[in-house]
Each structure stands twice: as structure tokens, then as C-alpha cells.
């Protein structure tokens, strides 16, 4: 909050500029009326609770007041960064969220393009509706289905054996190296339909005359998808990409927790599980908060970098 205030003050340091600003603002009363109540809201609900970050510098006890807490400086950060395990879980987090990001984007965009090419409206709507169903299934249920499918006698092994691609059943969740792939596919299966919705909405804004023009020029189906539909979706894709890059340290939690086991733990344990085990479950709020702050810093770095890159490339950007 303060940061922006400073910025604002900096940009209006000269009196004349301040005056012009106020002049402009007085002309924009309605816009202010339409946005400032929400500014109050965001400060109240999002910025004021940030006092909770002080917990990262305390040996926090729930029952005590802010001023009665034991202040321990950077100890929580130290115990976070000095933990060897931390770097392993950081690796896992980054890999898994990168996989999810790439796979998630690619599959949703492709599915949106293909859905858009379906000719029968009712078939299209039915597929759309069905494809987003797994989103409504809790991870517990989804993980259970995945585990059953991947069991030695599960459908995946049965199929692969029938197709003679393997000669004995594979214990999929019993090989650590497979975990990232399994997780990526599971995420796609669960969320691809849901992720497609926003692209389908974006496609609706494409001017139909563009298709007609492309057709006149003799463009094939694939060419129209490539030259008309995809560019039409691009602003939304870029915006979502920037936003999601900011979430690079959020690789999900439940899926890893539920599909994880002793054998694949070196690949499945991510930052959130680590924080849960050494922070939340031990009521070590300090460590958990320190980890949260670390995530925020990383988020901002990625967010700002991605946004600047988009700006430089002349794409739509977040702010």
C-alpha cells in the first residue's frame, strides 16, 4: 500500500502537476464514485490483515497480543532457508507448477479451438458440459480414481498389457520419476474443460466478418484457426499467462498430498506440504507466514517481469 502511495506522490511532486491531477479527478467524479468504495474495501479486507506478516518475525503464540509476542527477528526465515528439504520441495514446486502451467494452457487452448470447430451446436454444448464435470469432483475422489486406474490390476495397466506395450504391470505410483507426469495428466483431466470456458468466451468476441474474409482468401480450417481464432484469443491468453506466472509457487496441494506416498515423496512433496508439516501442523505460524512472504516476493518478481516482457513485446498486459 505505502509503496503505491509513495509512487503516486513521487509522480505528482510538482505543484502544477498535482493541480492538473485534481482537476482531472474533479472531472472524473463518476469514475471515482464507481471505484473508490471498492478501494476502501480492498484496503480494509486485503491490506489491513497484512499486519499478520509480523508473525513471521515472532515466536508466535495465539493467545498473546501483538505486543506481548516474543520477537525473534529473522529466525523463522533462517530455519526455512537453512532446511535442506526446503530446496528439494522448492524444486518440486517449480517443476510441477511449470508442468501444470504449460500443459494446462496448451490443452485448454487446443480444446477451445477444437470445440469451436464442432459443427453441431448440441453436440458442442454437450461435450463442453461433460468436459467440465471433473472440476466438481473433490480431489479426494479424483485421487482415488487415479489410484484405482493406476493399480497393477487397474485399467491403465490392463490396456497397456493388451496393446502389448508393456509385458508386466507397472506400479505407476511406486516409481518416483513418474509422479510429475501423472500429476500433470491428472490436472489436465480434472480441469481442462473448466479452463476452456474462458477461452470460449473470448472466442465469442471475434468479429465473424474476419472469418468470412479469411474464407474469401481461401484459408483452410486450420489456417483460419491459426490466423483468426487464435489471435482473437491472444489478449486473454497473455493476461492469464501473466497472472499465472505470478502463481509459480502455487502448484496445488491436495493432489500431491493424496497421490504422494513414501516412494515418490522426493518428487511429490511441494512447498505447501512442507509448510503444512513443519508449520501448520506444529502450530508454527511464524514459519508458515515466512513461507507465505517468500512466496509473495517470488510472485511479484515473476509478475513484474512477465508484465514488462509483455509490454516490451507490445502485447496486452496486466497493469
Amino acid at each position: 500500500m505505502e509503496k503505491h502511495a509513495v509512487q503516486l506522490a513521487g509522480s505528482t511532486s510538482e505543484d502544477s502537476r498535482l493541480k492538473t491531477l485534481f482537476k482531472t479527478l474533479s472531472k472524473q467524479k463518476m469514475l471515482m464514485l464507481m471505484s473508490l468504495p471498492f478501494l476502501v474495501w480492498v484496503i480494509l479486507f486485503k491490506y489491513i490483515p497484512l499486519w499478520g506478516w509480523t508473525i513471521a518475525f515472532q515466536k508466535f503464540k495465539l493467545a498473546k497480543d501483538l505486543f506481548d509476542q516474543t520477537w525473534i527477528g529473522l529466525d523463522n526465515f533462517k530455519s526455512l532457508f537453512q532446511e535442506q528439504q526446503f530446496y528439494l520441495v522448492l524444486r518440486n514446486t517449480l517443476v510441477m507448477s511449470s508442468i501444470n502451467l504449460v500443459l494446462g494452457f496448451a490443452t485448454a487452448i487446443v480444446l477451445a479451438l477444437l470445440l469451436n470447430e464442432l459443427r453441431k451446436v448440441y453436440f458442442k454444448r454437450t461435450v463442453q458440459t461433460i468436459s467440465y464435470l471433473p472440476h466438481f469432483i473433490s480431489w479426494v475422489v479424483a485421487a482415488n480414481i487415479v489410484q484405482t486406474a493406476l493399480a497393477p490390476e487397474g485399467i491403465v495397466n490392463v490396456l497397456l498389457l493388451r496393446l502389448q506395450l508393456i509385458d508386466h504391470p507397472i506400479l505407476w505410483l511406486g516409481v518416483g520419476e513418474y509422479f510429475w507426469g501423472i500429476l500433470g495428466v491428472t490436472e489436465v483431466w480434472k480441469n481442462v474443460g473448466w479452463n476452456t470456458i474462458i477461452y470460449l468466451a473470448a472466442i465469442t468476441t471475434i468479429d465473424p466478418t474476419q472469418y468470412e474474409a479469411a474464407e474469401m482468401d481461401g484459408a483452410s480450417r486450420l489456417q483460419r484457426m491459426w490466423h483468426v481464432t487464435l489471435p482473437g484469443m491472444k489478449p486473454v491468453i497473455v493476461i492469464l499467462l501473466i497472472m499465472n506466472l505470478g502463481h509459480i509457487l502455487e502448484s496445488g496441494f491436495e493432489a500431491q498430498y493424496l497421490l504422494g506416498n513414501g516412494i515418490n515423496v522426493e518428487f511429490s512433496e511441494n512447498l505447501d506440504i512442507f509448510v503444512l508439516k513443519y508449520g501448520m501442523q506444529m502450530n508454527n505460524f511464524g514459519l508458515a507466514t515466512a513461507a507465505g512472504m517468500f512466496k509473495t516476493v517470488v510472485s511479484f518478481i515473476f509478475l513484474i517481469a512477465a508484465n514488462n516482457l509483455a509490454k516490451r513485446m507490445g502485447e496486452s498486459r496486466l497493469y
Partner: protein
């Protein structure tokens, strides 16, 4: 709130619904105020009144929320005291719930904190009960008298009344079980042999499997345990302790003479257990999914009848194996055996008389009328009411035979065990998480406090197959398989509270992580590789600094022996 007003005026469409909802959120406080008013009147009158009043009860156990007087037992107790309870149970993450309770500073009148005790104590959520008990609690004193040192906190105060105060001696559960289960057809096949050691147990499985590699077209699974979900990993790691002849003290073995607590992790015991599992695996007798199957998959295997032997605590799987009982084929059912490493070891599967002092019910600082609550508890603890709470009403839910023994018909027992009936009657709410007689208590008249501990009642449930099996081994009850428990004054060591974020707690977590990582490697290792992986494991273990942990537990154990719980 500014937004709220603004929205209400600008979105006229919603006003109707808004009023409706505002209406229902405002209604309720009115309803509650009534109770508040009552509380105030009692506070002023010196005597403890019997005016109707409702208090809030919150438990970190699991159950369905209820108003106590909607149950038979609750209604009877309300008739005696005028007190009713709004009983709420935690849903979702207990730690979060206790966290916001503490942060907000508003507590229900009484709380059963289960795992949240140390946090709530730390926050000063509970009031000391010493004076209240002295003044209003003759029955409380009778029941908890022998345990005063155990229920008194380090600061000299009593904050919670635990659930395990055994009264009038100690009655053993008739159907105790170990963690090592074997399918009955295996025992039958070999003429009900004596199975005592781990080698014998595994050997029998091997012999049977060699003879019957598949039954009804399905391959048999030699041996299985529940290690596929992180939360249940203790199932596999706890076994060296039991095999070495110790009861469940968590992750330590406490020496009977010196009272030194030693970790059995990374010990010869653990190595022996893992070596055996490794051997089983090399013979393809261990289920390959041991470390990957989730609970549903695990239970599906157990109930398929294909598994010859498995390891877990009976309470972990609840009544899943009832499927096999219902199917009526006793040969496919399982029986738990007193398995240990060597003939010379005495098994310790039956828990020694124990007192769990970190589970209990306490009165919070928010309670306006602790006197009446204590009176209510005291009234619960009369022998008559304890009978009501466990057995119900005479000639309704149980009967008394000519010798004065309490008995239950098949139907009565079915009701006692039926979850829905237990709820409407109130057993589900009152037979635990309240001040009570411990499970092993005996009434003055010699009847067991807990119906299932009454041999007459336990026998009602035995099938013909059960009786045949017991006869073959010359036993009356399944507990007959096991040795008599030995007195261990500190038991159970797992209930020793470790401070939040303390080195002990972190050690615990790290040790568990290490086991989870290395167990699969060692079990699935080739014979030659086992030793080197074991050494790697030991090296990692040595980095954890176990000495401090052992010292901590030893000190606490010794404290307990001296009466400082």
C-alpha cells in the same frame, strides 16, 4: 458495512431476499439471549439452581451436532438437573478451529480439546476446577480421587477431567486383538497350530500359499499392511515395538527396570522387522502395493478374502471386515494372533492399565456458570447415571439375570451397536468425551462398566466359527490369546505432550519423514542391497540427533513414575 448499505439501496431487486436473510440472522441471537438471561439469574443467586438452561458443548472429536435433550439420556439428565446442552463437533481442520477460537477469545462453555489441549491450555482457555470439585463434586472426587496427581497440571491446577479413570478394579476387554491378523482357513489347514513368532507367522503364510496359490480363480495375497497413506504410515513403523513385546508407547520402548526410553527406530528390532518384510517380498508374498495402495484399495483387498495375513490395529479399519462376517464364511475371516519376535518374549498386546491424561473435558473462561456445570458432571458420575450412560434403562436396553448380571439379547446388543440408535438414545453422545468411568471399570455389583467388556454380552456375538476356533485353542474369549498386561506406571508414553514447534516435535516429524522414505527402499531391496541401504538409513538417522528426544521422553516417563503427570 458501507458497501452493504450502498448495495441495498442500489439493488432494489435484492431487497426482498436481503430482508429475509437479515431476518434470519437476527432472529437467532434473540433465541440465545434467553439462555443468557438465565445464566445471569443463576449467577446472582448463591445456590445452584435447576432452572432450565442450555450450555454450549464443543468437542474436537467427530459426531453429529445435537441438542442433548433430543436424546433419551440427555432428556433424563436434563430432568435431574435442568441443564441442556447444545453439542457441537468439529468439522474440518481441528487446528484451524482451535486457532480461531483462541484468536477470537470466545469459547463455548465446555470443550473436549482432544489434540488441541496444549494450545488451549497455553491460551488460558480453561478455568481451574480444583475449588469447584472440592465444593460441588463428591462423585468427581470418588471417581478421580486415585488419579489426582495425574489430572493435576504442572501449575497445580486441574483443567480437564479425563475419560479413563477406572473405578473399582480393572476389567480386561474380552476381545482384545493384536496387530497381526491371519485368515482362519490358514490356521484350519494346519490344524490350528500355535503361532507365536513372526517367523512362524510368515512361514505359515508361505506354506499355505505354496499349497493354494489361488482360490476360486483368484490369486491369494500373502501379506499386506497399511502403509500407502502418509497419515497411516505408523501402521508399519509401530510393529517392531509390538514384536519386541512392548505396548504402544509411541516411538519409544521404555525399559522396565531403568525406565530409560529408547527409540526403536534404527534399532536391531526395526532391522529385524524390515529384514523379514524384505524376505517376504523376495518370495513374492508381500503385496507389491503395500506402499502405494490407498485406504479404499486396502480395504477392498481385505474384504476380498484373498489376503492370508495383514497387519493393522483393529480400530484403523473399523467394521470393514464385517463384510466377511456377513458373508457367513468363517474360514475367510481373520483372527489376531499374539505375534512376537522370539518365543522368549512375552507379548504386550493388551494395554496395561493406563491413564490418558491429555484427553478430557474442561470448562472454559467463557462459561458464566461453572458451578452448575460441575454439578451436572458430578451428577453424571453417580453409579446409577453411569449405568444409564453405558447400559441404558433396565429391561429396556438391557436385562438383569437371576445372578444380578447385566445381559443383553441379540437385539439389544444390535441396538447398542447401531449408530443411529446410539444417537437417538444418546450413547453416541454421552458414553465418551464426558467425565466418566474408564472403560475397564467395574460397578459395585461386579458388572462391567462397558457392555462389550461383560463376557456374557461378548459371547452373544460369537458365531459358530468363532466358537469352533476358540475351542480349538482351548479359550473362552479372544483375549485368551494374549498375556496378561504388566503394570507400567507411565503408560502410555505417546500421550506425553510435546511443546509446539519444540525440537522433540520437529524430531518426530523428521524421523517419520525418514522412515517413509527408506522403508519402501529397504523392503523392496535385493538381498545384497539391503545392508547398504540400511546403513544409509542409519547415517541419515544419526544426523537427526535422537539423544535429545530420548532424554526428553525418559525425563517425562520418570516424572510420571514419581506421580508428576
Amino acid at each position: 458495512m458501507r458497501n452493504k448499505k450502498w448495495l441495498q439501496s442500489s439493488l432494489a431487486v435484492l431487497t426482498a431476499m436481503t430482508i429475509l436473510l437479515a431476518g434470519c440472522s437476527n432472529n437467532d441471537p434473540g433465541g440465545n439471549k434467553q439462555t443468557g438471561g438465565n445464566k445471569a439469574t443463576e449467577g446472582t443467586s448463591g445456590e445452584v439452581s435447576t432452572d432450565p438452561v442450555t450450555y454450549d458443548y464443543f468437542a474436537f472429536g467427530t459426531n453429529k451436532d445435537v441438542i442433548a435433550s433430543n436424546t433419551t439420556i440427555g432428556k433424563i439428565l436434563q430432568g435431574q438437573t435442568g441443564v441442556d446442552w447444545k453439542m457441537e463437533y468439529v468439522v474440518g481442520d481441528a487446528s484451524t478451529k482451535s486457532g480461531v477460537m483462541i484468536a477470537g477469545g470466545d469459547y463455548p462453555d465446555v470443550i473436549s480439546p482432544v489434540g488441541e489441549l496444549s494450545k488451549l491450555l497455553d491460551a488460558g482457555a480453561f478455568i481451574p476446577l480444583n475449588d469447584l470439585i472440592e465444593k460441588y463434586g463428591p462423585n468427581i472426587k470418588r471417581v478421580y480421587g486415585d488419579y489426582m496427581d495425574k489430572i493435576t497440571n504442572e501449575d497445580g491446577n486441574i483443567y480437564i477431567l479425563p475419560f479413563t479413570a477406572n473405578v473399582n478394579g480393572y476389567l480386561m476387554e474380552p476381545d482384545a486383538s493384536s496387530t497381526f491378523w491371519m485368515q482362519r482357513r490358514v490356521l484350519k489347514e494346519f490344524g490350528y497350530p500355535e503361532v507365536k513368532t513372526l517367523d512362524q507367522y510368515f512361514d505359515l503364510i508361505e506354506q499355505y500359499q505354496a499349497k493354494y496359490p489361488s482360490v476360486d480363480g483368484k490369486g491369494t495375497i500373502g501379506f499386506l499392511t497399511f502403509a500407502g497413506t502418509p497419515g497411516e504410515f505408523f501402521t508399519i513403523t509401530n510393529q517392531p515395538m509390538h514384536l519386541a513385546g512392548y505396548p504402544n508407547d509411541g516411538n519409544v520402548l521404555v525399559d522396565m527396570q531403568t525406565h530409560e526410553a529408547k527409540l526403536y527406530m534404527a534399532s536391531e528390532y526395526e532391522k529385524r522387522w524390515l529384514t523379514s518384510l524384505n524376505a517376504m517380498n523376495r518370495k513374492s508374498l508381500l503385496d507389491p502395493e503395500t506402499f502405494t495402495a490407498n485406504k479404499d484399495q486396502y480395504l477392498a483387498k481385505l474384504t476380498s478374502g484373498r489376503v492370508l495375513g495383514y497387519v493393522n490395529y483393529a480400530w484403523q479399519i473399523g467394521d470393514a471386515t464385517n463384510n466377511l462376517k456377513a458373508a457367513g464364511n468363517d474360514d475367510l475371516r481373520y483372527v489376531a494372533l499374539p505375534i512376537v519376535f522370539d518365543e522368549s518374549i512375552t507379548d504386550a498386546y493388551i494395554d496395561p492399565p493406563s491413564f490418558v491424561n491429555n484427553r478430557g473435558l474442561g470448562i472454559t473462561v467463557s462459561a458464566e456458570d461453572p458451578e452448575r456445570i460441575i454439578k451436572y458432571w458430578d451428577n453424571m458420575l453417580t453409579e446409577e447415571n453411569q449405568k444409564l450412560i453405558q447400559w441404558g434403562e433396565k429391561d429396556v436396553t438391557y436385562s438383569v439375570n437371576e445372578e444380578g448380571r447385566f445381559i443383553m439379547s441379540k437385539e439389544q446388543l444390535a441396538n447398542r451397536n447401531d449408530n443411529e440408535f446410539r444417537r437417538t438414545y444418546g450413547w453416541a453422545y454421552f458414553d465418551y468425551e464426558w467425565p466418566r468411568y474408564g472403560n475397564n471399570s467395574v460397578y459395585e455389583d461386579g458388572n462391567a462398566h462397558v457392555p462389550t467388556s461383560q463376557p456374557e454380552v461378548a459371547a452373544v456375538n460369537y458365531t459358530e466359527g468363532d466358537l469352533a476356533l476358540l475351542k480349538a485353542y482351548g479359550l473362552k474369549t479372544f483375549s485368551g490369546f494374549y498375556s496378561e498386561p504388566v503394570e507400567r506406571a507411565w503408560y502410555p508414553a505417546w500421550s506425553i505432550e510435546k511443546e509446539q514447534g519444540s525440537p522433540e516435535q520437529i524430531f518426530n516429524q523428521k524421523a517419520g519423514d525418514l522412515q517413509q522414505k527408506y522403508y519402501p527402499k529397504m523392503v523392496f531391496a535385493s538381498e545384497t542391497a539391503f545392508e547398504s541401504i540400511w546403513n544409509e538409513y542409519i547415517a541419515e538417522f544419526n544426523k537427526l540427533g535422537s539423544a535429545g528426544f530420548e532424554k526428553f521422553v525418559t525425563a517425562k516417563v520418570k516424572d510420571r513414575i514419581e506421580g508428576n503427570w
